[in-house]
């Protein structure tokens, strides 16, 4: 006879399900300005606490406080606000376009605009991002034309990717945006390889890897950390913790680890946790990590604590797995409203100008959409040629593909 009690499996559950009261008591909302800002060459073992706290700059009153503040001018911040507003307006229009059947699929950034928009500002021309599907702000903040993005979403005759990719899976080498894969985490280790190459060639450019909280469970995430740590690659390893991997809450992928940022500690990689809804904090931390990489001090891991306000994608219904009011209870607020409040407090912005800017931006997005739709949408108007199916599999078309193209009549 076995004298031990029977075992049972532990399956983590979020604090609340639909119908319940939202509960974010697990988010330790540290006071803005409270977390120290170490020198960029600080030894990783001396800053382990940064993997467990949350770096915040904007306080409840809209003031920028603490050692991570004061890095951006008013003009920088106004541009940042405008980028986030543009991304939000772009999302709204494209979501509607999907509902109207003009494209098959869309993924919005609602609530997460600060992460990609502020991060882009910390990079330089020539640096390379290896993004996921929720970092279009990297393109918006780098002034990539919205019409091109829409052409891609509509898979029309001007789609730069010739109708081959799912909507929102952009690619732009010129704008430091690596072609998006539908497979999760594959890009994370590729970013490390790109950064290693830059180091091998004694270049000055750095790479940024992007992943969501759920995808940190993929083995490529761990491979990337091994390679980044081993070769001290000039890469910024970003984890966007927006609390939800489709319907699966972040506690499933996180397991027993204290935080996602803490994953970096076992590899000797400096790890920071930042308020992902705070444009100033995101920028400050990204700049810190970029400087480390550029000074050949190796990788940095950053966890952005944020919240996915919208659905995972247009194929998802979040009301089936979380309380409808959960986003309102999110303790770190809305990134656009927080930056707006800060700029108003500084006297460089106003409610009136904000309302006016919203209208201007929406008009700009609508004009871009009209232009893009002039090239066609998924089921109407111009579309890429059937010939495009066969082109570009290889640099030079082999005879078996040429025979198939001819069979298809092209």
């Amino acid at each position: 006879m076995n004298e031990h009690a029977h075992l049972s499996l532990h399956v983590p559950e979020p604090a609340v399900r639909p119908g319940g009261q939202p509960d974010f008591s697990n988010v330790k909302n540290a006071r803005a300005g409270a977390v120290p800002r170490p020198d960029v060459d600080a030894a990783p073992e001396t800053i382990r606490d940064l993997a467990y706290s949350i770096i915040r700059v904007l306080n409840r009153d809209g003031e920028a406080v603490g050692p991570w503040a004061g890095l951006l001018t008013d003009q920088d911040l106004l541009t940042g606000l405008r980028n986030m507003m543009k991304l939000r307006a772009f999302d709204a229009r494209m979501l509607m376009a999907q509902r109207q059947g003009k494209t098959s699929f869309y993924m919005q950034h609602l609530g997460e605009e600060a992460v990609s928009c502020a991060f882009r500002k910390a990079l330089e021309k020539g640096d390379m991002n290896f993004p996921t599907y929720r970092q279009a702000g990297l393109l918006i903040a780098d002034d990539y034309p919205m019409v091109e993005m829409m052409n891609q979403i509509f898979s029309n005759e001007s789609d730069p990717l010739r109708g081959r990719q799912l909507p929102i899976m952009y690619s732009s080498k010129e704008h430091g945006f690596f072609t998006i894969s539908g497979n999760l985490a594959t890009q994370y280790v590729q970013a490390v390889g790109w950064a290693m190459a830059s180091a091998i060639k004694n270049d000055t450019r750095i790479a940024a890897a992007w992943i969501g909280d759920g995808s940190t469970a993929e083995s490529d995430f761990h491979s990337a950390l091994v390679f980044a740590s081993t070769y001290k690659a000039p890469v910024i390893l970003n984890i966007v913790n927006n609390q939800w991997a489709i319907s699966t809450f972040q506690g499933i992928a996180r397991g027993g680890s204290g935080t996602f940022a803490a994953r970096g500690l076992g590899f000797g990689i400096p790890a920071l946790r930042v308020d992902g809804n705070d444009y100033l904090a995101v920028y400050a931390v990204a700049r810190w990590a970029a400087e480390r990489a550029r000074r050949n001090l190796g990788p940095t891991l950053i966890e952005y604590v944020t919240y996915r306000v919208g659905a995972h994608s247009t194929s998802d219904d979040p009301s089936a797995y979380r309380p409808k009011t959960e986003s309102e209870a999110w303790p770190l607020g809305d990134p656009v409203l927080r930056l707006k409040k800060h700029l108003i407090l500084r006297g460089s912005w106003s409610e009136e100008r904000h309302t006016q800017a919203e209208a201007e931006i929406m008009d700009e997005v609508i004009q871009a959409q009209k232009q893009a739709e002039g090239h066609g949408t998924l089921h109407a108007g111009g579309r890429p040629s059937v010939r495009d199916i066969f082109e570009g599999v290889y640099a030079e078309m082999p005879s078996h593909i040429r025979r198939q193209r001819q069979k298809a009549g092209y």
Binding site: T179, W194, A395
Partner: protein, 337 residues
């Protein structure tokens, strides 16, 4: 011209490529200081420095994934996967990433990488050191798949692969590293130093990817093989006395259909030989193409001689590995039909 083993030829190809193009980097498990478990990279780190030839963590997906990133940057990584059997953890990076980056980005990003991996059986490697996974790659659009059968081809094809703008899977039959093994395990293997295909130019030369080579002229039956099986097929032809034409495919993807069709139309009979398992193996593709293009010229059904549909066994290796006896039986069978 020097006599080289296939190991030396592979090493020479990397050496020549690294000397000609400083963007060529070589990495993988144990390839740096030690020079690889088969010594294919021996001396390269000492010659080119440890940022051009270096050891990698034991993480095949990490190795291939970082190679893809390096290629996106502009380098030309030539990576060693220690055994073809170990590529499975990297399969996603190979088939869904490397193979498709050019296509999905419409040429915005490309992936000129070479993945070298020792393949096949015959060395008592058991089920995890003997596999022939080529069909898992030939099913994937965007990859090129090469299996050389001798040192001369190995060098010329590997240099071509490194210079190729697309991802190339370079499967090295490990049983051929030291000599042209003909499937007779009881006989000593003749070293490459006593074989004319061991004559390999020391400098730069390439063999075009996608071109097969007729190793033996014949009129009675066409035997289509690659890698170690080329030598087994040649032996079977000699031992049976059947006037077989033996085609060494060298490149499986793209495939030299023209050479195959020309030969089968001449002989009217066809046997395909490979080490990998039968069902859905590459032989099925070849047999289907022969049927499609040569049906009215065929005088007997196309036969396949392959490994069995089981994992590769250790102790019964010689009963698994297709030898000249089994190939000879197939030749006799198609001749009787």
């Amino acid at each position: 011209m020097a006599r080289m083993t296939m190991i030396e030829a592979v090493r020479s190809a990397m050496d020549v490529s690294m000397a000609r193009d400083e963007n060529v980097v070589v990495f993988g498990e144990d390839v740096g200081y030690f020079g690889g478990v088969f010594r294919c990279t021996q001396g390269l780190q000492a010659k080119y420095g440890k940022t051009r030839c270096f050891d990698a963590p034991i993480s095949e997906s990490g190795i291939v994934g970082t190679a893809i990133g390096m290629a996106a940057y502009g380098l030309k990584p030539c990576v060693e996967i220690q055994f073809a059997d170990y590529m499975y953890p990297a399969y996603d990076q190979i088939t869904q990433e490397a193979a498709r980056i050019r296509y999905r980005s419409n040429g915005d990003f490309t992936c000129p990488i070479v993945l070298r991996m020792p393949t096949g059986g015959g060395i008592f490697g058991g089920q995890t050191h003997s596999q022939s996974p080529e069909a898992l790659f030939t099913h994937v659009c965007g990859l090129k798949v090469i299996v050389p059968s001798n040192p001369y081809d190995a060098k010329g094809l590997l240099i071509a692969a490194i210079e190729d703008p697309d991802p190339v899977m370079f499967l090295e039959p490990k049983r051929l590293y030291n000599g042209p093994f003909d499937g007779h395990h009881e006989r000593p293997v003749i070293p490459w130093s006593r074989h004319e295909l061991g004559d390999v130019p020391e400098g730069h030369f390439t063999i075009p990817i996608g071109k097969a080579e007729v190793r033996r002229q014949g009129t009675a039956v066409t035997v289509i093989a690659y890698g170690t099986m080329v030598h087994v097929a040649l032996t079977a032809a000699e031992e049976t006395g059947i006037d077989a034409e033996v085609i060494d495919l060298r490149s499986l993807l793209p495939l030299d259909l023209e050479t195959i069709v020309q030969s089968v139309k001449k002989t009217g009979r066809c046997v395909v030989v490979h080490e990998a398992t039968l069902t859905s193996g590459f032989g099925a593709e070849v047999a289907a193409l022969v049927q499609e293009h040569c049906f009215f010229h065929l005088e007997s059904p196309v036969l396949r001689v392959t490994g069995w549909d089981t994992p590769y066994p250790h102790a019964q290796e010689w009963d698994y590995f297709p030898g000249p006896l089994r190939v000879g039986r197939a030749l006799a069978e198609v001749m009787e039909a």
